[in-house]
């Protein structure tokens, strides 16, 4: 066996960057460690982990310390139902989603005869036993959304279980080679009949038919306020087998997450050097590393004294943001940008 072959075989066996997921161990949570009253889709707590909700209860999401024994994890992502929905409407759903940039998926060679299978593995724990669905959703270059999913079962209540799912590559559709979304991992936990009434295709082919997507789902995780579900160790690797989770140091994971979300609870201050209502403190915040795209920015001003003024953005791109005070009725020597967040998620 030559050197080239040896190196190729190292992938997925601890020899390289095998996990296509960032923050699969749920250790980075820049936005918050807990968020309550969630009824709409978004990123709320653990970085890179998104929730898709459409009228399926109300949820608290937490970065939890509850983890499987003997696997080396310290954190998990926890969903806790606080308002139940026992009767889902036809188009309603509740999904855990992880999205990957298209340019990071080109080695899968989708859209060619060389398209590679991937294996997704994760640990899950819930009081709600039954059959769930893990789906890959591709965002193809032609604008279509081919999907392929497989069912998995939570067998024992309140017990950590490892699930392994392999999905064949899509030989028919290309993934865009860009910073746009190329693929989603979708873990279905509740769905109305728009997604369950079809015949589930069992993950060996790709389809755009919506009502097959969650055809194997037997649970509605939103049907009781006693329900909760936790995930950790999310990993996706090329090939048909799952290896043990690839742990990495916190700093490396944080740097990867900052491409998508940059949070600075209290950033550098800006000063005019004089107490004036006409001179606007302004300055730039540099993103390091550069972000995936120009981010959406939010923030507030904390004044050294007097009125705070109004946080405003003059310009923003993937590398930096120029902020200033746009209020006409403030009077401070210096201000500090507080609660600054730049969001370039997908």
């Amino acid at each position: 066996m030559g050197i080239t072959r040896d190196m190729a075989d190292m992938r997925g066996k601890g020899g390289g960057a095998k996990n296509l997921i960032i923050n699969g161990s749920m250790v980075v949570s820049q936005r918050a460690t807990s968020s309550t009253g969630i009824t709409t889709a978004g990123y709320y707590t653990v970085d890179r982990q998104q929730t898709e909700i459409n009228n399926a209860g109300t949820w608290t999401m937490t970065q939890s310390d509850d983890v499987p024994d003997g696997e080396g994890f310290a954190k998990s992502f926890k969903y806790d139902c606080t308002t139940a929905d026992t009767s889902l409407g036809t188009s309603h759903y509740f999904i855990h989603r992880y999205s990957i940039e298209g340019q990071d998926l080109q080695e899968l060679m989708y859209g060619t005869s060389f398209a590679k299978p991937v294996t997704i593995s994760f640990f899950v724990k819930s009081n709600k036993t039954g059959t769930y669905v893990c789906e890959l959703q591709q965002l193809a270059t032609d604008g279509s959304y081919p999907r392929s999913g497989k069912a998995f079962t939570i067998n024992s209540a309140d017990t950590w279980e490892k699930k392994i799912i392999t999905i064949n590559g899509n030989t028919a559709k290309l993934i865009p080679d860009s910073n746009a979304r190329g693929m989603d991992i979708m873990i279905w936990m509740a769905a109305g009949t728009d997604f369950t009434s079809g015949t589930f295709n069992a993950g060996n082919s790709w389809t755009t038919t919506a009502n097959e997507r969650a055809g194997a789902l037997t649970v509605n995780i939103a049907d009781n306020t006693a329900n909760e579900i936790l995930f950790t160790g999310l990993q996706m690797e090329i090939g048909t087998s799952a290896s043990s989770f690839q742990h990495e140091d916190f700093g490396t994971t944080l740097e990867k997450c900052k491409r998508y979300c940059y949070v600075a609870p209290q950033h550098l201050g800006y000063t005019t050097g004089t107490n004036s209502a006409t001179l606007a403190p302004s300055g730039t915040i540099q993103f390091s590393p550069n972000m995936r795209a120009a981010p959406t920015c939010t923030g507030t001003y904390t004044p050294q004294s007097g009125s705070a003024g109004t946080f405003a953005v003059a310009s923003v791109n993937y590398s930096y943001v120029h902020v200033y005070n746009s209020s006409s009725n403030w009077n401070v020597v210096a201000i500090v940008v507080s609660d600054f967040k730049a969001d370039a998620e997908i």
């Binding site: 709409t40 889709a41 978004g42 910073n179 746009a180 005019t272 004036s276 006409t278 001179l279 606007a280 302004s282 995936r292 795209a293 120009a294 981010p295 959406t296 920015c297 939010t298 405003a312 953005v313 003059a314 310009s315 923003v316 791109n317 120029h322 200033y324 746009s326 969001d343 370039a344 998620e345 997908i346």
Partner: protein, 68 residues
């Protein structure tokens, strides 16, 4: 995504002597209330908030006011 109060924001000029700020007349993004939070959204099609704003405009559900 609930989007309201959308208005363009512009770049600024800062007078090098006085430090006074004035708009430079070039739209740089949209400031809007999104899911209850004031957000500054760049004019970048790769930004998911801007993509959603464009989607709602196309559907006739949202308009963007001119900058102040």
């Amino acid at each position: 995504m609930d989007i309201s109060n959308a208005k363009y924001f512009q770049g600024i000029n800062i007078d090098k002597d006085s430090g006074a700020v004035s708009a430079d007349g070039v739209n740089q993004g949209v400031v809007a209330t999104i899911d209850g939070v004031t957000m500054h959204v760049p004019l970048d099609p790769s930004n998911t908030h801007y993509a959603e704003i464009q989607k709602q405009i196309a559907a006739g559900e949202l308009t963007i006011a001119d900058a102040d």
